[in-house]
Each structure stands twice: as C-alpha cells, then as structure tokens.
Symmetry: C2
Subunit: 223 residues, 2 copies
DNA sequence: CGGCGTGTTGATCCGGGTCAACTCTTGTGG
DNA sequence: CCACAAGAGTTGACCCGGATCAACACGCCG
C-alpha cells in the first residue's frame, strides 16, 4: 500500500540507492514504517535484535550506558542514517540504546529478511561492507584522538567534522553543548570554556548555537 | 606449488573456515605468501591499499600516528588474525601502519581479486560483515569505557578480555607493559602503579609478565 | 510572570602525565 | 659462561588539565 513511500525511504540511504531498481523495489517491499514520538526508547541494550532501521525523518540518539551509570553518546542519527547492522551478526543482542530525540519516522526491515536479502545481493553486501569499513576507520581515528590529544583537540576535530558533514563553515550546532560533552566524554563546563578559548584565539566565532569557522588550519593544528 | 600451505593459511581464519571446500580452494589459489623479518614496516598509513592480509605466524602491530607524533597502538595481530578489510573499501588508502614485531609469515590476497571473490560469495561477505560487526561493537565499547571510567577500569577491562581470549585465568601477558600503555592511551608508569594497586587489593597476582586473576567479579566492578 | 532546562563562570581538588633516578631483564659479544 | 650494555619496569616528587561543586545568567514554555 505505501510502497511508494517505502521506496522513498530506501532512496534516502546510500547503500541502497546504487542498487538496480528491481532490487530497490525488493528492499522496499520488506520495509515496515514506524513512528516514534519524542522521548520514545526504540530499543534498549540487551534487547534481542529485531530489525535494521533507517531514519526517514527526525533525530535518534544512539548511546551506551557504562557500568558506573554514565551515559556515552555514540551518535545522533540524522535522516538517511541507518543503524542495527552491527547487532545483526552478533549474538543477537543489541548493545546500544536508541532513543527518539524528536518525533521520528523510521523504516524498519526485519532481520531475517534483511539477512536473506544480503545473501542474494552481493552488491548490497559490498555496499554495507564499505559503510562499515568507514565506521571502523572513524572509530579508530576517534580512539587515537581521544588517547593522544586534549579536549581542545577533540572539540576542534568535532567542529571540523561537523562543518564538513554540513558543507558549511558557518552552521548551527546539531547538538546541544551538553550533548557534545557527552559525545566527547567530557563535561558541559569544559565545552563552554573551550569554545570561549577558541573564540579568543580567533579560530571560531560563536553566537548562541551558531558556529563560524574562521581558521580551519588553525583548528587542524590542535587535533 | 605451495597450494597445500596456502590452504592451511586459509583454514586459520574463521571467516574462511566455514566456507565449502571448493570455495576455500578458490581462496587459497589467490594467496601469495610473504615473510617479513622482525621490525619490517609492512605498510604505512597513506599507502595505496594493496591486499588483504592473514597472519600465519608471528606478531604484527597495527598502529596509527597522531598529528602530534604520538603513536596509538590499535591492535597486535596474532596468528589467524587478518587485516586490511577496513581499507579495502575506503578511498584506497591505508589509514594505519603495520609493523612486524617478530619474524612473521603472512598470506596476502590482492585487493581486486578479493573484491571479486566477495561479489561471488555471499557467504563470505556475510562472514566478513559479521566479523566487522564485532569490531565495531568492540570499538564502541572501548570508547565508552575510555570516556567513562578511569585507567584502573581500563586495565581491568584489558585483563578480563585478555584472559577470556586466552581461555586462562593464569596467563602470560602477550604485550609488554609499555605496549599495553600505548594501547590504552596511558603511560608505563601508570600501568605499573595500577598493577601494583590491583595486586594490593588481591584482585590479581603478578610475577614478571605473568598475571593470575584472583577475583574476576572484583575486576568487573572496576570497569 | 514564574519555573526549569541550558549555558556560563569561578573556586577547588585530584587523577594521572611528566621528569628523574634507580633496578631488573634480556640479549649480545668476548 | 660471564660481563656489560640497552631496554623494560618501578618508584618517588611534582604539576597541570580538566572534573566537580556551587552560584548565577539566560532563554523558552506554560
């Protein structure tokens, strides 16, 4: 019935987009749409895996809770992002928690159906491998930066990456500073001080949640 | 000619091992063997990607150098481990450096051949996806622990994981303490102090490079 | 207009990095 | 097989980045 809309959802995602139309339609047939109001917990770490999830509209927080109760923000999904791939092949347990930050529409594909699809479409499997490679590279780079540079460097890296992702040097922060702190494993106070310091050094300008990068090379040297 | 040996190499690796014999033989046909003496740099970050690599014998260090010159140890490959998958799909550039820590034998598969193989064998692709999922999960867990607990917690996690990997509660550390420090993003001095403190708390016993875990639960509480 | 979440700023404290001296291993050559 | 050098590990003293605690300044929503 909403075949049409499902295809739109599939087209949002790079790993599906490059597939031949016939395969895209096959994917779209597997899609079930869901809506989650702001604040909904979509799944919890420990849940048995259910499905591969594409975010069509909204924002979803992916996080992990450490043994000591502290929350670690792993990423904030934007429309077109997907999640669930890492859990699909592992012990069938979710290891992260997904929460809708605002009202969100997602397209879900049942895990068994998705796995069958993968076995039939080498192209899709290769696309997914490519995407996961990228994730591994990013996580490794994060690890290196976290271990070798100070908070200023991590904030600089975050600003450069955000700017690159948005294709803007003058942009509105997609996350609250509080969340940036959780993402980088630091505190809001420190974020506030670092922003101030970067502004003093004329590397950025900030007004409320807006940031303008004034000296990209300068920031890169801090990483 | 060394078809026989190549197959042995292929059988070392879980993602290949479960393939039907015919496919394993196909993989083995693509294998080229190399030997690297201790200290050899097998490839450097920035090199164009060449091949997928399986370690048959020896030890290979995978690391990244941060902008400030500090080295981050990402993993130390043991026989049966493989590497190169993450680079194969990304910009064709290695982002890490591989160094032979001791004389090492590796089996290499040319990247083009490997990609073709993947397109033809969905089973292999799925196996590789599974392996990469695991890596992503581990990296995320590392990130969470790094951001939320102190060095003592990280050392505890490292000891528990090492013990689990070796299936022993009484084992010889596979890495020098200096390298454990680089791996965890800390210093040898701190590692030394943490080991001492864990010993005092009767959570472990240590003699030279040997560690005996005395209180697994106690260690888990520190993570 | 009042209240609550977010952000800022200051004061204080502590984990762990750095520097330095020393000891213990390990490996190499005579 | 020993001797000695070079690296690995340990211990202590010191210091600094950033977490914590606390008070205060803004929005924004009901």
């Amino acid at each position: 019935m909403d075949q049409h809309h499902a295809l739109e959802c599939v087209n949002l995602v790079p790993i599906f987009k490059s597939l031949p139309l016939i395969q895209k339609t096959a994917v779209a047939d597997l899609v079930v749409k869901h809506q989650y109001p702001k604040g909904t917990i979509i799944y919890l770490a420990g849940d048995t895996v259910g499905h591969f999830m594409i975010l069509e509209a909204g924002q979803i927080k992916i996080s992990q809770v450490a043994a000591n109760g502290k929350e670690q923000l792993l990423k904030v999904m934007q429309p077109g992002d997907f999640d669930g791939e890492a859990a699909l092949f592992n012990g069938n347990q979710r290891n992260v928690t997904a929460t809708a930050l605002v009202d969100s529409n997602v397209c879900q594909i049942d895990q068994d159906a998705f796995q069958k699809l993968l076995s039939r479409s080498p192209q899709l499997a290769v696309n997914l491998l490519s995407e996961m490679s990228q994730q591994i590279n990013n996580l490794q780079a994060d690890k290196t930066v976290a271990a070798t540079s100070d908070v200023t460097g991590q904030v600089a890296k975050y600003l450069l990456e955000t700017s690159a992702a948005l294709h803007e040097t003058n942009f509105k922060l997609p996350l609250k500073k509080k969340d940036i702190a959780t993402y980088l494993g630091t505190t809001p106070e420190t974020i506030s001080r670092v922003f101030k310091q970067l502004t003093t050094k004329k590397l950025i300008d900030t007004t409320a949640a807006n940031v303008k990068i004034r000296d990209e090379d300068g920031l890169m040297e801090l990483v």
